[in-house]
Amino acid sequence: MTTAQALPSALSLGWRRTRIEVKQLFRDKESAVFTFALPMLLLVVFGSVFNTDIAPGVTFSQYFAAGMIASGIVYTSFQNLAITIPQERDDGTLKRLQGSPMPKVSYFIGKIGMIFIVYVIQVTLLMAIGIAFFGLSLPESAFKWFTFAWISVLGLICCTLLGIAYSSIPKTGRGAPALVTPVVLVLQFTSGVFFVFSQLPHWMQVGSSFFPLKWLAQGIRSVFLPEDFASQEVAGSWQLPAVAGMLLIWTAIGALLAIKTFRWQART
């Protein structure tokens, strides 16, 4: 018998997973392009076509840039995981990990680490384009930077957990994009990303208020749009406490569902 040596800690293995996840993402050219180029392309196309004023001193492009940054949170966490986890279930990644002494929590730490890195890169690119071409300006006060930070972190954690939970729905990796992207796309239309939220039909506003993207977009607008634009919002204010509240509720729901439903293996 060999003497028992200490197992590596879950946290250090989580960091190990983060590094390998990022490496794999950048090696896979197609998914790297999909991850980074698509949001930028959408921003450029929509921002250029609908470059009209929606309020004094505020263009739709600015409004849309804020919405795309909020979408970036959903893309990098929810959409990414809900598609890649079923693929990893199919190609044997998860089963190999399940058979190793790596704890499950390290896998999730790895995912969260990768998502934060991807998000920072993506949001930097989107902000750069927004500032260069669409009249976006950097957050003007420490308070706005702080708002930007907590919405990003809370939003990423929330949507990561929801992505893990949603990953149990697609039966195969091949079918995953078809079950995931429409959900995100519809929410973008109804949550104030592609259209100005206050101009949507009332029932649509109410419906999308149950989901996180509406609140993420509104919160991010509070960071990037002029302060007096708050009066143009449906509630007449940015409703930051409500943003935090909704994200926390969805984080709790996501955590519960993720723990209850996550499966290493495909249903047999």
């Binding site: 197992l7 390998i20 490496k23 190609d91 990644t93 190999r96 002494p101």
Partner: protein
């Protein structure tokens, strides 16, 4: 501690609804033994293996692997196993060296990655991405990842499917080396010559049960089975089945007055024994 057995199963069953995949398997695999499970697809080999590995929970029966119940065993137990699954398409964008080094970090007592890559014969491909590997090379990477943690028990599920004969020989040498190091190996395979070359004992599974279990040479009375003597007569090839082949040959020798043309004596191969076991099992179904 009396850990004479690395893997023990008693009355092991596994059902999926009405489907009884495993129907009462008893096995005791000794520490350091290389044990092969043979059987047609659907016989329950993979199900048994996956229960031992902790991937599936059993319906009933007792299972102990390295003295612990796989259903409840912790990380430290998993660190003592090496698992080579049937097929995988993961890790395609990483190089062989990156994959092996990454997995080495999971274990408390891992082997040296470069040494393991050398042992599976992938040194030349060390810097190549997995997606560029041939089927056999890809399988060797799977084995490298299975043994990187320096396992006490190694599970090999159809490890050489798709290998060319030379690659298979090399693979057998690799497994022989692990056996010499005292690793317990549970192998499932469809290749009889593989079981014969590697296994100390083989079990034949059919319809969820062990129908025979012995050394490859003695399985199901193989050693005292009848031999087939074949030779060439002016009318063509002739053969007889006999339990006394030496007698038959000396009779033939005197008949021919010396050399018997194209004489051969064949014992039933492991495959013959296996097929007759499976046939009689299916006939009784």
């Amino acid at each position: 501690m009396g850990n004479d057995y690395a893997i023990v199963a008693e009355g092991l069953t596994k059902s999926y609804g009405d489907l009884h995949a495993v129907r009462g398997v008893d096995l005791a695999i000794e520490t350091g033994e290389c044990f092969a499970m043979l059987g047609p697809n659907g016989a329950g080999k993979t199900t048994c293996t996956e229960i031992f590995e902790g991937f599936r929970s059993r319906t009933s029966g007792r299972v102990e692997v390295l003295g612990q119940d796989p259903d409840t065993a912790a990380r430290a137990w998993k660190a003592r196993l090496g698992i080579v699954l049937q097929t995988s398409r993961d890790l395609t964008d990483l190089t062989v060296a990156e994959s092996v080094s990454h997995f080495a970090g999971y274990y408390p007592d891992a082997r040296d990655p470069a040494e393991v890559i050398e042992a599976v014969g992938l040194s030349e491909k060390s810097g190549a991405r997995s997606m560029s590997l041939s089927g056999g090379q890809r399988r060797r990477l799977d084995v490298a990842l299975g043994i990187i943690g320096n396992p006490e028990v190694l599970f090999l599920d159809e490890p050489t499917t798709g290998f060319d004969p030379e690659a298979r020989r090399q693979f057998w040498d690799l497994i022989d080396g692990l056996k010499d190091d005292g690793t317990t190996i549970l192998l499932t395979t469809h290749y009889m010559e593989e079981a014969e070359a590697l296994a100390d004992r083989v079990a034949v599974l059919a319809r969820g049960r062990v129908v025979a279990c012995d050394s490859p040479a003695e399985l199901s009375g193989r050693q005292d089975g009848t031999a087939i003597v074949t030779w060439l007569t002016p009318e063509g090839r002739k053969s007889v089945q006999t339990s006394t082949p030496t007698n038959t040959v000396s009779e033939l020798a005197s008949q021919f007055g010396g050399e018997v043309p194209e004489l051969s004596i064949a014992r039933p191969s492991l495959e013959d024994i296996y097929l007759s076991l499976i046939e009689s099992e299916e006939a009784s179904a």
